[in-house]
Amino acid sequence: MKTLDRIIQQHRVIICAGSGGVGKTSTAAAVALYAAERGARAMVLTIDPARRLADALGLRQMGGEECIVPVSGSGTLSALMLDQKGAWDALVERHAPSPAVRDRILANRFYQHLSQSFAGSQEYMAIEQLCELYECGRYDLIVVDTPPTQHALDFLEAPQRIADFLDKNVVKWFVRPYFSAGWATFRLVNRTAGVLFRKLEEATGVAALAEVSDFFTSMAGLFENFEARVRRVYELLRARQTAFVLVVSPEEQVLREAEHFCRMVRELRVALRAVVFNRVHTEHSGARGVLERERLEALVTRAGGGAATAALVENFLRFEAVARGDMARIAAFRRRLRKAVAVAEVPNFDADLHDVAGLQRMHRYLFGAAA
C-alpha cells in the first residue's frame, strides 16, 4: 500500500474533499506545508469564505492575493484564497468579446445574483483557479481545499452543472430580445411554455424576465468557450497527476456520506488515492484485564492520583468508549476501501491546530515514518 508521502511525490495536484467540519482545511494546509518543507514549491488553494485557512496559517489578509508563508527548508509555501465574486468577474472579463458586452454583463442584476448564489459556482471557480495555477507551471504541488458543503460530491458535479446551465439548446429560448416579435411568436407557437411564461410574467413582472433574457443575450458569445473549459477542467480532474484525498471524521453520518463519495468517484473516473481520518480516538491496546475500573483506580492511586483518581479513571473509560466506536467504524469503512488507497489516522489532539506548529503535529500521523 502506498503512503501519503509517496502520493504527494507522484502527483502535482491534490484535492482534499469531504463534508464540512472534518478538518479538511487543516489537512490541506498540513499537506502543502509538508511538501514545502521538503523542497517543493507548494501552493494551497482555499475557497472558504470563513477564512479558515487564513486562521490556520496565521494570515490576516488573503483576498485573492497570493501569500507567501515562511517555511523552513528550501521549498516555498504559497497560499491563495479564492474570491468567488471576483473570480466570476475575472472570467467574464477574460472572455467578453468587447468592453461594452463586459460592462453589460457585470451590471446585469441576474448575473450579480447568479455569480453569488448559483449552486456549484464556488466549486467551479475553485477548479477554474486550479487550472490556471496548474498551467502557469510555477508550482510542483497544488493542494486544493474544497468548499465546506454537506456533500463532498458537489465539487465533482459543479463543472457539469455549469455546463448544463449553459446548454446551448435551452439557452436559445432565452437568447432573444424580450420585447421583439420573436417572443410573442414563441408564446403563440409553444403553448405550454407560453402559459408558463405568462405566469412567470405575472409573478415576477416583465422587468425581471427582460433582465434574464438580456443576460443570456450578452453571454451568448461566451458559451463556446465554456464548454471547452469544462471539458478541460474534467481532463485535469481525471489526469494522472491529480490525486483525490478524502478527509473524514469517524462519525457515522460523515462516513456514510463518504461511502457515497467513493462510489461516485469511480463513476466520475477520478482517482481516490487516500483517505485521512481526522480527530480519531484510538483504543488503548493494553491488556484487557487492566482496564477494569477498580484496577485502574488502584493504579492511578499508586501514581499519586489522590482525590482526582476517580475522575481521571472515569475520563479514561469514557474516552475508551468513544475510541471503541471510532475504531469499529473506521475498520468497517476500511474493509470496503480498495487496497490501493492509502490511509492515515490523525488523532484528536488536545488543542486546536491553527498555526504552523500545529499543522506540523499532524505530519507524523499523515506521513508516518517519513515525517
Binding site: 442584476r109 448564489s117 454537506q150 409573478a203 462519525e251 487492566v290 482526582a308 481521571l312
Partner: protein
C-alpha cells in the same frame, strides 16, 4: 423547560456543518412533541439525517412521515415545493403535467437563481401557517427547521427579501412579503444557533448572528453550545499522576497510566478551549445560551438524541449548566 422558546411556532435551527445542528434540531423536536405539541421537523437540503437520527426510514423528497407520537419529519425540497405551489395557482392538472414535463420548465427550475431557496422557505411558511383540514385550526403547534449549513442558510433566509426587492410588483412580491412578515415576527419565529465552542464555528456563529439578526432583522431564539468538555481535574493533579507514574512497574502499568494522562490532557485541553470560546461567544452573541455536554458514547443514535433532548430541557430549567453526565 423550553416552554418559553416553544411559545414561538417556527423555530429555525442554523449552524456550521459538523457541529451537531441536526442533532439539536431533532432533540428540540422530541421535546416539543413530548410537551404535547403537534410537531413537524422540516429538513432542508434533505439528506435524510434527521429521519435516521430519530430512528425512522428515509423520507421521500417533498413528503412527510410520522416518526413518533406528535412528531412528523418533512423532507423539504425546492423542486417539489414549486410543483406543489404551482398546483395551487394553476388548478389544471393536464396543463401542469405538460409544464412539468417540458424541458424549459426543468431548465428554469434548475437554473433560476434563488428559486429553489424561495420555494423552500415558502413551503416552510405554508406549513407554519396552514390550517388543519378537519379542525380548521392550525395544523402544527411547532415547526422546527433543520436549516442547511451556514452560508447556505443565510441565502435561504435572505431570499424572500431579495425576491421582494427584485420583483417590485406581482405575485412573487406579495407572497414574499407574507413570508418576510412571518420570519420577522418575534411572536411566531425564533432563529436558533448551534455551535461548538471552537474557533471556526464560533467565528461563523458570530458572523451569522450579525447577518441574520442585525442585518436581516430576524428574531433570535437560543444559542445552543454543543459538545462542551468540562475537565473534572486540575492541571496540577494531572502532572502529579504523570510524575508519579514515571517509575511504575511493570511496564504495562506504566503504559496504561501514560494513556490515562494523555486522555486527561485531551479533556482538559478541550475544556480550556471550550471555556475560552464560550466566553467569547457570550460576549459577542447576547442570547440565552444552553450548553450541551459532550456525549462520550460508542455509537450515536436515537437513544443519544433523547439524552441530548433531556439535557436541553434540564439545562433550560437550571440557571447554570450541569456538569458530568447529561
Amino acid at each position: 423547560m423550553l416552554s418559553e422558546l416553544f411559545e414561538r411556532r417556527l423555530l429555525v435551527v442554523v449552524g456550521k456543518g459538523g457541529v451537531g445542528k441536526t442533532t439539536v434540531a431533532c432533540a428540540l423536536a422530541l421535546e416539543a412533541a413530548r410537551a404535547g405539541k403537534r410537531t413537524v421537523l422540516a429538513e432542508v437540503d434533505a439528506s435524510g439525517r434527521a429521519a435516521a437520527l430519530l430512528g425512522a426510514a428515509p423520507i421521500p423528497l417533498g413528503q412527510s412521515r410520522s416518526v413518533a407520537a406528535n412528531l412528523h419529519v418533512l423532507a423539504v425540497d425546492g423542486k417539489a415545493a414549486l410543483q406543489e405551489y404551482l398546483g395551487l395557482i394553476i388548478p389544471l392538472k393536464r396543463l401542469l403535467d405538460a409544464v412539468f414535463a417540458s424541458r424549459i420548465y426543468n431548465y428554469f427550475v434548475a437554473v433560476a437563481p434563488g428559486l429553489r431557496e424561495l420555494m423552500t422557505i415558502g413551503k416552510i411558511w405554508y406549513e407554519a401557517e396552514r390550517a388543519d383540514d378537519s379542525t380548521g385550526g392550525r395544523r402544527w403547534d411547532a415547526v422546527i427547521v433543520d436549516a442547511p449549513a451556514t452560508g447556505h442558510s443565510v441565502q435561504y433566509l435572505r431570499m424572500p427579501k431579495a425576491a421582494h426587492d427584485a420583483f417590485g410588483a406581482g405575485l412573487v412580491a406579495r407572497e414574499s412579503q407574507r413570508v418576510m412578515d412571518l420570519l420577522a415576527d418575534p411572536c411566531r419565529t425564533a432563529i436558533n444557533f448551534v455551535t461548538t465552542a471552537e474557533e471556526m464555528p464560533v467565528n461563523e456563529t458570530i458572523e451569522m448572528h450579525q447577518q441574520l439578526c442585525r442585518e436581516l432583522g430576524l428574531p433570535p431564539g437560543y444559542l445552543f453550545v454543543n459538545r462542551v468538555h468540562y475537565a473534572d481535574f486540575t492541571a496540577a493533579e494531572i502532572e502529579r499522576v504523570a510524575a508519579g507514574g514515571q517509575g511504575l512497574q511493570p511496564r504495562e502499568d506504566r503504559a496504561v497510566l501514560a494513556e490515562v494522562v494523555r486522555r486527561a490532557h485531551e479533556e482538559s485541553g478541550w475544556a480550556a478551549i471550550n471555556a475560552e470560546y464560550l466566553r467569547r461567544l457570550k460576549r459577542e452573541v447576547r442570547l440565552p445560551a444552553i450548553e450541551v455536554p459532550y456525549l462520550f458514547t460508542e455509537e450515536f443514535g436515537v437513544e443519544q438524541v433523547q439524552q441530548i433532548a433531556a439535557a436541553l430541557a434540564g439545562a433550560a430549567a437550571a440557571s447554570a449548566p450541569r456538569r458530568g453526565e447529561p
